[in-house]
Symmetry: C2
Subunit: 227 residues, 2 copies
DNA sequence: AGCGGTTGACGAACGCGGTTCGTCACGATT
DNA sequence: AATCGTGACGAACCGCGTTCGTCAACCGCT
């Protein structure tokens, strides 16, 4: 039990005048939710915890937010505000990789955020900002508009995929992790190729795999684009 | 309160001898769970509903399953048993596309299944079976082992991504859907490229986009492979 | 200055989720 | 026939999102 502050009554009064306590706005709610999403141990972010942190009850939040789903969407877009979209004026290839790297880094701030991004389609202003930047880079690369549009979809899906994979427990590919265990348990008789490639399947750092995957995507996209 | 059946005692007795009722095994639990995952409206599959369908209480399942997480993993792998891996003896490109198509079709059996597949890394025997087949196809394509191993990862992630995207509400890209709405709301002044490409971003059927994406991935992978 | 009407905040409760615990009936063993 | 260990189960716990009815504070009137 947190200590019940006897001065609480005056706080309530002051809350209306909006001096000591923030008067509970939509922004304040989203801010606190994002703070919990990123700072917390990464466990479940709940409406009740957010309310408690804002020194109120769960019901009060419903004046500003329709739904937990809406709140999640708002939080995701606010988180995406941290994605750095303007990556200097180097060659487009470097700018693309830097943008995707920033995108991934933001999503990996917390497992909860990464999980959310793979379940919610981001359609907020910041998602649009990222899409706009990607289209610009692909334009510089000489990719036609339709190809670029579809490529934006693939690149976004790729980023959320990588983040989601990273979200469930520290590096499942690491030695001793569930993947390595499963590969060791796989009998060579039934899965000869998996067995033969068991080291390759878990080789490389996250960094290397990321760069490799981006390269595969870029080559594929360029080879489809009417240069 | 559900009516208390006086005949219940005899049912318990018959359950022990395992005649009328299946005597509650791990397989029976996973079977029923998968049935609910696929047949149900696609909503949340809960331990309690599974128990009720098996004519018992939630606590009884814990004799056979450690966790809801373990149950989910078991269900996912059992679902993957339906993926058709042996796709005739045509050219590798067709076999690859057919395999991925079967994979996606299975995951799209229900939204709940699709959502699960993007959160849980599949490491069961059926996941290994699919990986084995993919490695075989890529081998036929002349892809070296390391490239093939990493490509398996990308292809799997791609499949679960597509399924997850499809999982949240009937086609978000459809006209009137949240994506189209967001694009219409996007001011051309701030997002000129997004605005210009707003039709391309939502164009194409799921089929066309799937084929296009696979083509991008294959081209990228081949161009990295030391043929 | 006094006064309804509107609105936002809140306590309490509802239904449902996964999980745990103590009990008791069962089938096998002595 | 008596006993024992096992495992199925009812009941309960705690936390979740959400809803409802109430009440106090603010606003624009007269």
């Amino acid at each position: 039990m947190p200590q019940r502050d006897p001065f609480r009554v005056s706080e309530v009064a002051s809350r209306r005048t909006g001096l000591a306590k923030s008067p509970l706005s939509r922004d304040a709610i989203v801010d606190e939710a994002l703070r919990q999403f990123t700072s917390e141990g990464g466990d479940a972010v709940t409406l009740r915890k957010i309310a408690k942190a804002l020194d109120t009850g769960p019901a009060s939040l419903y004046a500003y937010v329709d739904d937990m789903a809406e709140l999640r969407a708002l939080v995701l877009d606010r988180a995406l505000a941290a994605v750095e979209v303007d990556q200097g004026d180097g060659p487009w290839r470097e700018r693309l990789e830097a943008l995707l790297r920033s995108y991934i880094r933001v999503l990996m701030t917390s497992p909860a955020l990464a999980r959310m991004s793979s379940q919610t389609i981001a359609v907020g202003p910041n998602a649009l900002r990222i899409a706009e930047a990607l289209l610009g880079i692909l334009e510089d690369a000489g990719v036609d508009r339709l190809t670029a549009a579809w490529a934006v979809d693939m690149l976004s899906a790729f980023v959320t995929s990588v983040a989601a994979e990273h979200a469930q427990g520290a590096d499942p590919v690491a030695p001793g992790g569930p993947v390595a265990q499963a590969l060791d348990r796989a009998p060579a008789s039934r899965y000869p190729r998996v067995h033969a490639a068991r080291e390759d399947l878990v080789s490389g750092t996250g960094e290397e795999r990321f760069a490799w995957s981006v390269d595969v995507l870029v080559r594929g996209i360029l080879s489809r684009a009417g240069v």
